[in-house]
Amino acid sequence: MRVGSMIAVWVYIVLATVLEVIVSYVFPFSWALRDTAIGLIAISVAAAIVLFYMELKYQPRWESLFLVITLFFVGDLLMIWTASLVH
């Protein structure tokens, strides 16, 4: 991957993190909407790290199998998050 692309990914991660804080403390969202938005942003950051920092986007097909493990981890968290919101 090019350095420029890597820096673009880093900028996205920084902006997404700041956005999470803004969503949490600046805008008067309902707590359910707030938590869902933060959850989705966090998952997008995790996906960016897995695909680019871990370079799974560029690996041979079968190594991408390990992406499934990572996505399982993320999906598992998403489900728990949703369950907590419903609760």
Partner: protein, 803 residues
């Protein structure tokens, strides 16, 4: 011609001897006998160490069992006090399941898996030795509990909360068992990664998946179960230790409490049943095939049952241990149905074993008898287990001796008879000597008869609670308990015969030749007593063995780090409970061991023999190290999933949770988060530099990563001190918000520290020109690890600071 000097002659003789040794495949003695065993990293020697140590723990666990049974032989017996009985029953269960049965399977796996697939050794020999020493020293830490005030662990083998809390068990024994278990979990995880990577990536050319021997397949599934189940209980045990030592409230408050522990324990505990029985069943499969004189019937069906049945369903049914804990009705129904479905793969395997024998020329030698005994007890235990899987019947049976009978038929009968069969079957390969068949058969008959005298009557004690240390004569339980105690002593004494045959096979038994059973299976290729050599050649389908290769030295170098680190950790853990000086000595020893490990890597002092590339599908383009790194990360992901899942479980059960902004400095935490995420980018830039051959860039960007990570950790520590100095202080013991915050950030901080140590190693090696454009695997693996540490914080940050 010039006459040769004495020195030249000696050199020539030395060279000639080396050639002869090379030709004969005899290892040149390099170290003393004791040193060669203590520092070995060879898979066969490590396997033997597991074997001997497992029997040491069997002896201790067996003594405890006899004490319990003798106490229960008569009503109102006074042999043991209630406290002593509780310790005996708790330690018996833990030792037998975790320090005897599982490791005995690991002993065979270590020895035979590389031989069966044609590898020179396991994927990570040094980690293999480390796994063994963590297991052995973990057991020592656990047993130390008998010698501290308050005695050993006494909350049952499940360590149920809140009984395991300091409130009910204030002595050091419970803390020591938790610390010993922590070492064991580390051992199991490393062992799992190692064996899985070995089987996936180190098969000899021609050894395709379908040709992989059955025992190795069973081992693969066993290790996958461990890899995915242990992280749950690892985090639970860590929380228990923190509860007991630092006063956190995970298992002693209504928010976490016993149900949380139950989930964490049984998500590991039920798959552990399969971890215990599958190696034995794998060995039984090989034995039944060999002694029936025909290939295993429907091997593909057996493998499918394993992979798509037992592997996922052993997790999907763990809740059947929690029917009476208050989990909701829908969950109970799902676990009931799943458990009953799970009988199908077990039934498939038993039927295939039976079909293998039908029409075969069955020889009832001792290994075969043991395998059949294992299958018989598996069926009996399995049938009684079907009753327990029913929600309605389980409500009646739970906590009675019927359940004790059920799980001993599975754990002892199935696993132990099969593994005893494996000893009779494979030990002649180890030693080149045969056992006395008559003694072997007598051992089987006595063991099988007394085993059933011991455990079958328990099915008639449906009204006897299983966790009592004595009972009144009027209960009428005395006669059956007396019979069971006779069975226990008979079963124990019968094992003297096993000891005899093992000594016989090790020392004075008849020489038995290369392949005494006439087996057409890969591990029997080569000479007997060849524990120093493996045969990594091309696998021949025609002969089902390895052809075309001379014996090859397989011994990996000796290394002291695994032993030293494990010993240091054990001393530090015992010191936590017993004395501060021991803790300090342990830390020094442990750090010394880690330093020597890094030193050996830095200067290339630990070199594993090169492995020729063989079958690697589906990861043809990945090295075994890369596969191992990914597997380790997969285990880590499950660890953090369990930790974060527990946090959300607690959040759901605590009605009032303080707003994060009322406790934390959000701006500081956000800034710190950005530092960490930036370190992920600099780590990648370091990798990018060395890929382009830029060594200065590598060192520079690694230095930047170190600075960013160090800053993150420093700010985190400052944050902790600020919280501790608040009024009122926000501590780990001040409530569940504090407990969860310090626990989660603490574990993450430990990962940061590991990363910092890794970076010191990489920077040092980089400065010494240890990396190049084509040789920088360690930097790649570090980048993967560091990205993982980032991902964890992606979730911890919003959970702890934003919502």
């Amino acid at each position: 011609m010039q006459p040769m000097s004495v020195e030249d002659r000696l050199d020539a003789i030395e060279k000639r001897l080396t050639d002869i040794e090379k030709h004969l495949g005899v290892r040149k003695p390099q170290a003393s006998w004791l040193k060669s065993w203590l520092l070995t990293t060879d898979h066969k020697q490590v396997g033997m160490l597991y074997f001997v140590t497992a029997f040491y723990f069997l002896f201790i666990g067996g003594i405890l069992a006899l004490l319990m049974r003798t106490q229960l032989a008569y009503p109102e017996s006074t042999l043991l006090t209630s406290a002593a009985y509780n310790q005996a029953v708790s330690m018996h269960g833990l030792i037998m399941v975790l320090w005897f049965l599982s490791p005995l399977g690991a002993a065979f796996a270590n020895y035979f898996v590389p031989l069966q697939i044609g590898a020179k050794d396991v994927a990570f020999p040094r980690f293999n030795a480390f796994s063994y020493w963590m297991y052995a020293f973990g057991g020592i830490v656990a047993l130390t509990g008998f010698f501290v005030p308050g005695g050993a662990a006494a909350a049952g083998w499940t360590n149920y909360a809140p009984l395991s809390s300091k409130l009910f068990l204030p002595g050091g024994g419970e803390t020591l068992i938790a610390l010993g278990l922590l070492m064991l979990w580390g051992s199991l995880t490393m062992g799992g990664v190692n064996l899985i990577a070995t089987i996936i990536s180190m098969r000899a050319p021609g050894m395709t998946w379908i040709k992989v021997p059955t025992f190795t397949w069973f081992t693969l599934v066993t290790q996958l179960l461990l890899l995915f189940s242990v992280p749950s209980i690892f985090s639970g045990t860590l929380a228990l230790i923190v509860d007991r030592s630092l006063g956190s409230l995970f298992f002693v408050s209504s928010g976490g409490s016993s149900i949380l522990w139950d989930h964490m324990w049984w998500f590991f505990g039920h798959p552990e049943v399969y971890v215990v029985i599958l190696p034995g069943l794998g060995a039984a499969a090989e034995i039944i095939s060999v002694f029936s004189g025909r290939p295993l019937y429907a091997k593909k069906a057996i493998l499918l049952s394993l992979i798509f049945g037992m592997l996922p369903f052993s997790f999907a049914i763990y809740g059947h241990h929690m029917f009476l804990t208050g989990i909701n009705a829908l969950e109970r129904e799902i676990f009931t149905v799943n458990t009953e479905i799970n009988t199908l793969p077990s039934g498939m395997i038993v039927l295939c074993f039976a079909a293998t024998m039908i029409g075969g020329a069955v020889k009832f030698k001792t290994p075969m008898l043991m395998a059949l005994g294992s299958i018989a007890t598996f069926v009996i235990g399995g049938v009684s287990g079907v009753f327990d899987s029913s929600l309605f019947l389980d409500v009646q049976f739970r906590g009675t001796y019927q359940v004790v009978s059920h799980f001993h038929y599975i754990m002892v009968g199935t696993a132990e008879f099969a593994l005893f069969g494996a000893i009779y079957y494979w030990m002649p390969k180890w030693t080149g000597r045969m056992y006395n068949e008559a003694v072997g058969k007598l051992h089987f008959v006595l063991s099988f008869v007394f085993f059933n005298i011991l455990f079958f009557p328990m099915n008639f004690l449906l009204d006897m609670p299983r966790r009592i240390y004595t009972y009144a004569p009027a209960t009428g339980w005395g006669p059956l308990n007396y019979i069971e105690t006779i069975g226990a002593w008979g079963f124990a004494l019968a094992q003297i015969l096993l000891l005899y045959v093992m000594i016989e096979m090790a020392t004075f038994g008849k020489r038995c030749g290369r392949n005494p059973w006439g087996v057409n299976s890969p591990e029997w290729t080569g000479d007997v007593e060849s524990y120093v050599n493996n045969y990594p050649a091309v696998y021949s389908t025609a002969s089902s063995s390895f052809d075309g290769g001379e014996p090859v030295h397989s011994l990996t170098p000796l290394n002291s780090s695994p032993l030293v680190i494990s010993a240091g950790l054990a001393m530090a853990f015992m010191g936590l409970v017993v004395s501060l000086p021991l803790l300090l000595v342990g830390i020094v020893v442990g750090v010394w061991g880690i330093a020597t490990w890094f030193r050996d890597d830095l200067y290339g002092l630990f070199k594993v023999p090169e492995e020729p590339i063989g079958e690697r599908w589906p990861f043809n383009q990945m090295s075994h190290v890369r596969v191992g790194v990914w597997l380790a990360l997969a285990g880590e992901m499950i660890l953090f999933t369990a930790i974060i899942g527990s946090y959300l479980f607690i959040r759901e059960n605590v009605p009032i949770w303080p707003l994060p902004a009322s406790i934390h400095n959000i701006r500081l935490a956000t800034f710190n988060t950005l530092l960490l995420f930036s370190s992920g980018m600099t780590a990648f830039l370091a990798l990018h530099s060395i890929r382009n051959g830029n060594r200065n860039g590598l060192v520079g960007w690694l230095g930047a990563t170190f600075a960013l990570a160090g800053s993150f950790l420093s700010i985190k520590i400052i944050e902790w001190f600020q919280l501790l100095s608040m009024n009122p202080p926000f501590t780990i013991a001040s409530g569940l918000p504090g407990s969860t915050y310090y626990f989660m950030t603490g574990i993450h901080a430990v990962h940061i520290m590991v990363g910092l140590a890794f970076m010191v190693f990489l920077i040092t090696k980089g400065i010494h020109n240890g990396f190049s454009k084509t040789n920088h695997d360690a930097v790649t693996y570090f980048t993967l690890y560091w990205a993982f540490v980032d991902i964890v914080w992606v979730f911890l940050f919003p959970l702890l600071y934003l919502i």
